[in-house]
């Protein structure tokens, strides 16, 4: 079995590996569509408009 000192680090790592993607999915689900990249949209829209001109 795991030794006491090593358990916390490895288990935390595994929890992070599983928790981070789930958190991102939850974030994506909760935030209104298109809002979580609103800042990126502002930057890219200007680029798109300059290409069309």
């Amino acid at each position: 079995m795991l030794s006491g000192g090593d358990v916390s680090g490895e288990l935390l790592a595994l929890l992070a590996a599983i928790g981070v993607p789930l958190f991102l999915r939850l974030l994506d689900y909760l935030l209104p569509k298109g809002r979580h990249l609103k800042l990126v949209h502002r930057w890219t829209v200007d680029d798109d408009e300059s290409e069309d001109a």
Binding site: L2, E10, L12, A13, L14, A16, G19, P21
Partner: protein, 130 residues
């Protein structure tokens, strides 16, 4: 939304530079974990082995998704790659590894999360790049 693929194709398939890079990096860390080398020495028990298997799965999703032209599998690979690198960053931060290595791992996690957000939105909007 900015296209995240290169104009040139390989084997008739679009190449996403970041997905390609993170697949190679994740492969390296998966091998390290499963062979108990470098960061794998800190992940030598069952949670670490599970993390190594997840990393292998991520590589499979990215490469398999690229080969099968599946944006869904590639975006899933990006999502779970952020988890793998968060896990690596966590163990390096907690177990007293090099702060440089830990920071780089967290940088990969952030980059993968950002790439997933970009790709995920494109997939949701119905854009397909083959």
């Amino acid at each position: 939304m900015t296209d995240t693929t290169l104009r040139r194709r390989i084997a008739g398939r679009a190449v996403r530079p970041y997905a390609f890079a993170v697949s190679l990096a994740t492969w390296v860390v998966a091998v390290a974990i499963l062979t108990d080398q470098a960061v794998g020495a800190l992940l030598d028990d069952w949670p670490g082995e599970v993390l190594g298997v997840i990393a292998i799965g991520v590589v499979g999703m990215l490469w398999g998704g690229w080969w099968a032209r599946s944006d869904v599998w590639m975006t899933r690979g990006l999502l779970w790659s952020s988890g793998v690198w968060a896990g690596v960053g966590t163990v390096l931060s907690v177990e007293g590894g090099s702060w440089v290595s830990a920071s780089l791992a967290w940088c990969w996690a952030v980059a993968s999360a950002g790439a997933w957000l970009l790709e995920h939105e494109d997939v949701e909007r119905g854009r397909r790049v083959r």
